[in-house]
Point group: C2
Chain length 311, copies 2
């Protein structure tokens, strides 16, 4: 199997109620590839500046990231600075410095044209399409986006959506993209735009999956301590796509398990700053928490002859 991600590799500065960190490893491609690595290697398409620490590249490589598609360009690396208050569901962006990301043009190594599984991280939908132009006939394409692109590049985003199998969005993005308040109706509208499936992420509440008439609701793992929510969505996508690529199948039962895997991996990612928890995370821990998630959601069929007479 072959899995490719296009996205950001960043230096994040974070403030949370629990502390702060300056210029730590971040970016959608970093979280994605590290989380997918539990299931297999990832081809990374991204850009960094001259100032990007070699140790971060060494770490990503050690986690099976193939960096043949990561270019180092003159200038500074993309930087994001954000703050979370006690409601850890929403980030407040304090500063964004695009730097080398401003002129990023994804260029895939020719050998990657055979890629089977593709994740289009949250970048300009024009760039997402240019990546798809450079892969031959992928088996499964998933894509992320955000309010900024929904608002400013809607037409291009709708073109991307015609070419993807699955879209990851959060509640607010789903509502904005569909122009519909009810999230169930919003998801159905989005399915009409092209994707075969939509995953609506709802933070601490879990995720909903829609495909055709199929609906799956996954509860989030109930965490006592959310430390740093940065990268949760990309960790979710990384676990999801890593698992799907490893299975090599896209049947509904696989996608349901993939959502739980993504949710579990993301639940670890937010336990510490940056990718720190992912550095120590083991497959055994993922498997154990997946089993807990099964237990968390389990209930049996109703008994027969249960209702009051005449009802």
């Amino acid at each position: 199997m072959s899995l490719l991600v296009v996205g950001s590799v960043a230096l994040d500065s974070l403030e949370t109620p629990f502390g702060r960190r300056e210029e730590v490893l971040g970016g959608s491609a970093s979280y994605f590839s590290t989380c997918a690595s539990f299931f297999g290697p990832t081809r990374v398409v991204a850009v960094v500046g001259e100032d990007f620490p070699e140790e971060h590249l060494a770490f990503l490589s050690s986690r099976g990231a193939d960096l043949a598609g990561l270019v180092r360009q003159p200038g500074r690396t993309f930087r994001w600075k954000g703050r979370y208050d006690f409601d850890l569901n929403t980030a407040q962006t304090l500063d964004t410095q695009l730097n080398v990301l401003a002129t990023f043009k994804p260029a895939l190594p020719a050998a990657w044209r055979d890629t089977e599984f593709v994740f289009l991280g949250n970048i300009d939908p024009d760039l997402q399409q240019s990546v798809l132009d450079q892969v031959g006939k992928p088996r499964f394409v998933a894509c992320d986006t955000m309010n900024f692109w929904i608002d400013s590049k809607r037409a291009s985003l709708l073109e991307t959506l015609k070419r993807v199998d699955l879209l990851f969005v959060n509640d607010a993005e789903a509502r904005q993209l569909a122009g519909e308040h009810n999230v169930i109706k919003a998801a159905k509208t989005i399915l009409g735009f092209g994707p075969r499936a939509v995953v609506v992420k709802r933070g601490e509440y879990g995720a909903l999956f829609f495909s055709g008439s199929e609906v799956f609701a996954a509860s989030a793992y109930p965490l006592l301590d959310v430390f740093d929510p940065t990268g949760a969505g990309d960790s979710f996508a990384g676990g999801f796509m890593g698992y799907v690529a490893r299975c090599g199948r896209m049947e509904p039962d696989v996608l349901r398990r993939a959502i739980v895997v993504g949710s579990v991996v993301a639940s670890f990612a937010v336990e510490q700053f940056s990718l720190d928890r992912l550095r120590t995370l083991t497959a055994a821990e993922i498997r154990a928490r997946y089993a807990e998630a099964r237990q968390l959601a389990h209930f049996d069929d109703l008994e027969p002859d249960l209702f009051a007479p005449g009802r």
Copy 2:
């Protein structure tokens, strides 16, 4: 089995984005007993005024409500007027007229002293305790409350909690009662106040159940059209307690199914104004939607030999 509810019987006036209704049947005891009636009869302790329409009492009776504990007093019936905006999760109270409820002193028929299952609706915790004083040795007591009592009668509410088996609260009430933002920690704190179990209702997101080290997460049935959320919590409690009383057991597996039953019954209740949908609801519809809820939440175990080598 015997099930008792103490709560309000009200005349509600409602405004939603979908229309309005004046002086329709409402109140916690009305919703509760009608929803519990799918599983068996309910003993109703409540008060109405001279103006309360006989047809509503006839309806409640037809649904197995034993009205021997419902008194008709001089004066007007309790009235509540509320509005919902497009975010149907939160009601805006426009007017509350306590009327006969202001001097309500629950008095149980002597024959009801043997009651096994008790639901203390959202009333003054002093009155909740006076009801418990009037039942001998109930097998299972559940209780509802609200921000007003948490704020204004905290000491009395904590006394009530020492005497109940299960508390129903929503997210915000759990946080307020526990003085703790994280809802998981809040639930654990509340368990320390006395109840053996806590159900945290999260509106469109479903419900969490806590008891000892046990946690259960139930997703809400994904509704395309929420019409009138009034009574959703009491409908949930009615389905829950009706089912538990019918089973006559309080083991974890029963309580899990009870939460799904409550969630399913509540999902019907909000489809039309007042108790209108409950008037036509059948046991077969409840059973069918319960089966859908099973399908909605289902996912399988992970495959063995799944992870990448060395992880």
